[in-house]
């Protein structure tokens, strides 16, 4: 750490304005934890994207499942000679394949909901800060109202209204999460709004939308990126919770949370693998995203940069 501090001080002096991006990237990779997290994340994303090609079985295809192969221990062989490296659940679903496919669902839900919420929340926050007055009051009170509910409760209520299903989980998570972005972006934008470059832009009579999106937005993005990364991890965790409660993914197309939930009832009977391996996968995914997010926060925080 001390080494990187020294460099922090020397680099800006040597090169007055190096590309902010390249500087950020090299800064990011100075933390070994972040490198490990980033590497793991790449591997996980790769596994999820290529799941249909690398998994031994399509766990969503009921044709390929056989209850006669149910609850087999890791390493058992099926009647057709396929090896279940991580065992099977009660339906004869290969846990390894189930995890790979489950990762897809989990990541998709996480990324989609975090980024959609980021877009909605950021826009709302920018508007609130720039417009001020009544618009600001309305938006920010809405945000306060929203943040006063626990996220999981909010998501549960939304699912009760919308019904089950992965897409509905995404919608519920967007509704539950957008407020965090709005509040952060507004506070950043409030500071930026008073700066000279915005004043100058106003003097030039640039249209409002241009000031908002070309001038204010880029300067508010750093915290949004950090929150979005963390929210992906949070959303994955929430999706797992909702599926665990039986409100998320369909039973025949399990996500990681669903797999953990179906295995949970067998935990006491020694059939640990149904919950254990998906649980580990969930843990590793969330930890690696959080490592990346933590490092991004350090790098993008203006207070640390100077």
């Amino acid at each position: 750490m001390s080494e990187s501090n020294v460099q922090d001080q020397t680099v800006p002096a040597a090169t007055p304005e190096p590309g902010r991006l390249t500087k950020g990237v090299s800064e990011f990779f100075k933390s070994p934890a972040a490198v490990i997290g980033f590497g793991t994340l790449i591997v996980i994303c790769g596994l999820a994207v290529f799941a249909p090609w690398i998994s031994p079985q399509n766990p969503y295809d009921l044709m390929q499942l056989d209850i006669m192969d149910g609850r087999l221990a890791p390493g058992s062989e099926s009647m057709t000679g396929m090896v279940y490296y991580l065992g099977t659940d009660s339906q004869g679903r290969d846990i390894l394949s189930g995890m790979l496919y489950g990762l897809r669902t989990s990541l998709m839900v996480g990324v989609l909901s975090a980024f959609a919420a980021a877009i909605i929340g950021t826009t709302a926050g920018l508007f609130a800060a720039y417009m001020g007055r009544r618009t600001e009051t309305v938006i920010m009170r809405l945000v306060d109202l929203q943040l006063s509910f626990p996220t999981i409760l909010m998501a549960l209520m939304m699912l009760a209204i919308l019904g089950k299903g992965v897409i509905n989980v995404v919608i519920a998570l967007i509704i539950a999460e957008w407020a965090t972005y709005a509040r952060t972006v507004r506070s950043t934008a409030l500071v930026e709004r008073e700066k000279e470059y915005v004043e100058a832009a106003r003097m030039l009579r640039l249209p409002g939308w241009r000031i908002l999106f070309k001038h204010l937005l880029p300067n508010c993005l750093a915290p949004v990126i950090v929150i979005a990364t963390m929210q992906v991890a949070r959303a994955i965790g929430l999706e797992a919770t909702l599926s665990f409660l039986g409100l998320g993914a369909s039973v025949t197309e399990p996500s990681l949370g669903m797999l953990i939930s179906t295995g949970y009832q067998y935990l006491l009977t020694g059939l640990y693998w149904i919950s254990f391996f998906p649980g580990i996968a969930l843990l590793v995914t969330i930890v690696s995203i959080n490592l990346v997010g933590d490092r991004l926060r350090d790098v993008l925080n203006p207070r640390n940069a100077s």
Binding site: D61, L62, M63, L65, D66, I67, M68, G70, S90, Q91, G92, K164, G246, S250, V251, T252, Y264, Q265, Y266, L267, L268, T269, L271
Partner: protein, 524 residues
């Protein structure tokens, strides 16, 4: 100094442990882990097994229905049929409600009519024949039925007698304890919906006070949580011991498995009335112009594709018996004429092609999660087996509270259900599941497939008004024959009753699967 403090702390600690231990020497609490959750304490709102089992602790009925479906005197001491449509009941003298007020004929009249007239119509299948209830004198009532009703005594045994003061009370008044006042073996202490009910011994119970001073019913629909509570000694007896936990319980020194036969019949129902079924589409997802489930050949193919032996063996882990009709052999109404359909996927595929679906079709199967033994897993297995004969299946399971209304009102195209045949004969399941839906007559309330078979309705009407046992028997059998040769319902299995308990208690399982604290005995 420190030693002294420690010593004092140790004494204080010992004290806190010793006091409850001494108290429990006189007090004998019992905790039951129920596998299902009642929707309310109001005993007339909904006639589902968890509600009726829960209400049984606080309230009595005129007649006690024993675990083997026979009738015993309870609040009524004797009864007789005056003529074909009038029954007279003599009430027990000197019975008091938990609040100290006297029990008399007014309470009975108010309760029976309340159960009959409740907007929810939860007891319609039991009350549909009751036209009037009158108090002849404070200890005699007369029930008038529309038609001769051979099942009246059984019906009456299901209706709990509340105080007449509470006849207009809302569901909330029962749930918050205001009207949770009965004559039963236990009086209300507290109720947390979805979590637990606590009651305490009624020392002046007419049939003698219970052995248990305090009874807690904990609602633990989650198999893992229920098993964990038993293994950690928190609970004395749990319902529906998860099949996967049997080994753990058997090998433990202080726990036992209690096994018995149940009358609960599990079936698959489907939309056989609409011209287009909402959840059935062509194999490629395009809408079908007709409802394949209306074709008896398709229904037979579906049943042929299900390996019921494998389901009972592998998924239920032998906690069930394969069924072909409402009741097992030996019960009234078991028919030898029901054609047995064996597992044969190849023939099923051929039959499906013959019916005009060589490519199969797509179907969504709906079912509850945690209501019946391994319900969600059984339905997934059925989905697997359907897929093998070309019926692309999607399985949706819902929490019971969301599912129960929807399946009975016919929102699904294909669904999993089960019925406790508590009367031990076939008119009871036929009235609820197969008879044409008719709210006035109270028939077909759980007929989610919209089945309407005039022949069955006719036989049912006859069977329901015949009081003579010898005449009734062939009619009861005819109901099974008609229902299962037309495959209006696909028969699946009978559930076994398996409880897990501490060795310190003993219990004889009931056919209706209720776990009643009053019938739990301390082990000798």
């Amino acid at each position: 100094m420190t030693a002294k403090v420690l010593q004092r702390a140790a004494i204080a600690l010992l004290g806190t442990i010793a006091i409850p231990a001494m108290a429990s020497a006189q007090e004998t609490p019992l905790t039951i882990g129920m596998s299902t959750t009642p929707t309310t304490l109001d005993p007339h709102e909904d006639s589902s097994a968890p509600n009726n089992a829960t209400s049984r602790h606080i309230w009595d009925s005129l007649i006690n229905l024993t675990g083997k479906s026979s009738n015993e005197p309870e609040l009524a001491t004797e009864w007789k049929a005056v003529d074909d449509t009038h029954w007279e009941f003599k009430l027990r003298e000197g019975v008091k409600f938990h609040d100290g007020s006297d029990f008399n004929a007014d309470d009975v009249v108010a309760s029976l009519l309340r159960a009959r007239d409740k907007p929810s119509q939860g007891f319609a299948s039991y009350t549909r024949n009751i036209t009037n209830v009158t108090a002849k004198d404070p200890l005699t009532i007369v029930i008038e039925t529309k038609v001769p009703d051979p099942l009246l005594l059984n019906s009456v045994s299901r209706i709990r007698i509340i105080s007449a003061d509470c006849k207009d009370a809302s569901v909330q008044d029962f749930d918050n304890g205001k009207c949770a006042i009965g004559t039963g073996a236990y009086s209300f202490v507290s109720y947390q919906p979805g979590s637990n009910l606590t009651v305490k011994r009624n020392d002046s119970y007419f049939a003698g006070p219970s052995h248990w001073s305090n009874v807690t019913l904990r609602f633990l629909p989650d198999d893992g949580a229920r098993l964990a509570s038993l293994l950690s000694n928190e609970i004395d007896i749990i319902e529906t011991l998860p099949a996967d936990g049997m080994e753990r319980v058997a090998s433990s020194g202080n726990l036992q498995i209690i096994n018995g036969q149940s009358s609960r019949f599990a079936y698959l129902g489907m939309d056989v009335s609409r011209d287009v079924a909402a959840f059935a589409t062509a194999a490629d997802g395009s809408p079908l112009d007709k409802n394949p489930l209306k074709d008896v050949r398709v229904r037979k193919a579906l049943l042929m594709s299900i390996n019921r032996d494998a389901i009972v063996e592998r998924i239920m882990q032998k906690n069930g018996t394969v069924a072909d009709q409402f009741v097992a052999e030996g019960y009234a109404g078991h028919s030898d004429k029901v054609e047995k359909v064996a597992y044969d996927p190849a023939a099923a595929k051929a039959l499906l092609a013959e019916a005009g679906y060589p490519e199969g079709f797509s179907l969504t199967l709906h079912g509850p999660a945690g209501r019946y033994v391994k319900d969600a897993e059984i339905l997934q297995a059925v989905g697997q087996m359907f897929t093998r004969i070309g019926i692309k299946s999607k399985v949706e399971v819902l929490p019971w509270a969301m599912y129960s209304d929807k399946y009975s009102s016919g929102d699904f195209s294909f669904f999993f259900g089960a019925w406790g045949v508590n009367t031990g004969e076939t008119t009871n399941p036929t009235v609820a599941l197969v008879a044409t839906r008719d709210e006035k007559k109270g028939t077909g309330r759980y007929n989610g497939g919209g089945i309407s078979d005039p022949k069955i309705d006719e036989v049912l009407a006859k069977a329901s008004s015949t009081l003579d046992e010898a005449e009734r028997k062939p009619l009861l059998e005819e109901l099974s024959t008609q229902t299962f040769n037309s495959l209006w319902l696909l028969p699946m299995h009978y559930e076994n009753v398996v409880l897990g308990a501490k060795k310190s208690v003993s219990y004889t399982p009931r056919g209706d699967k209720y776990t009643l604290a009053y019938e739990v005995q301390p082990a000798k």
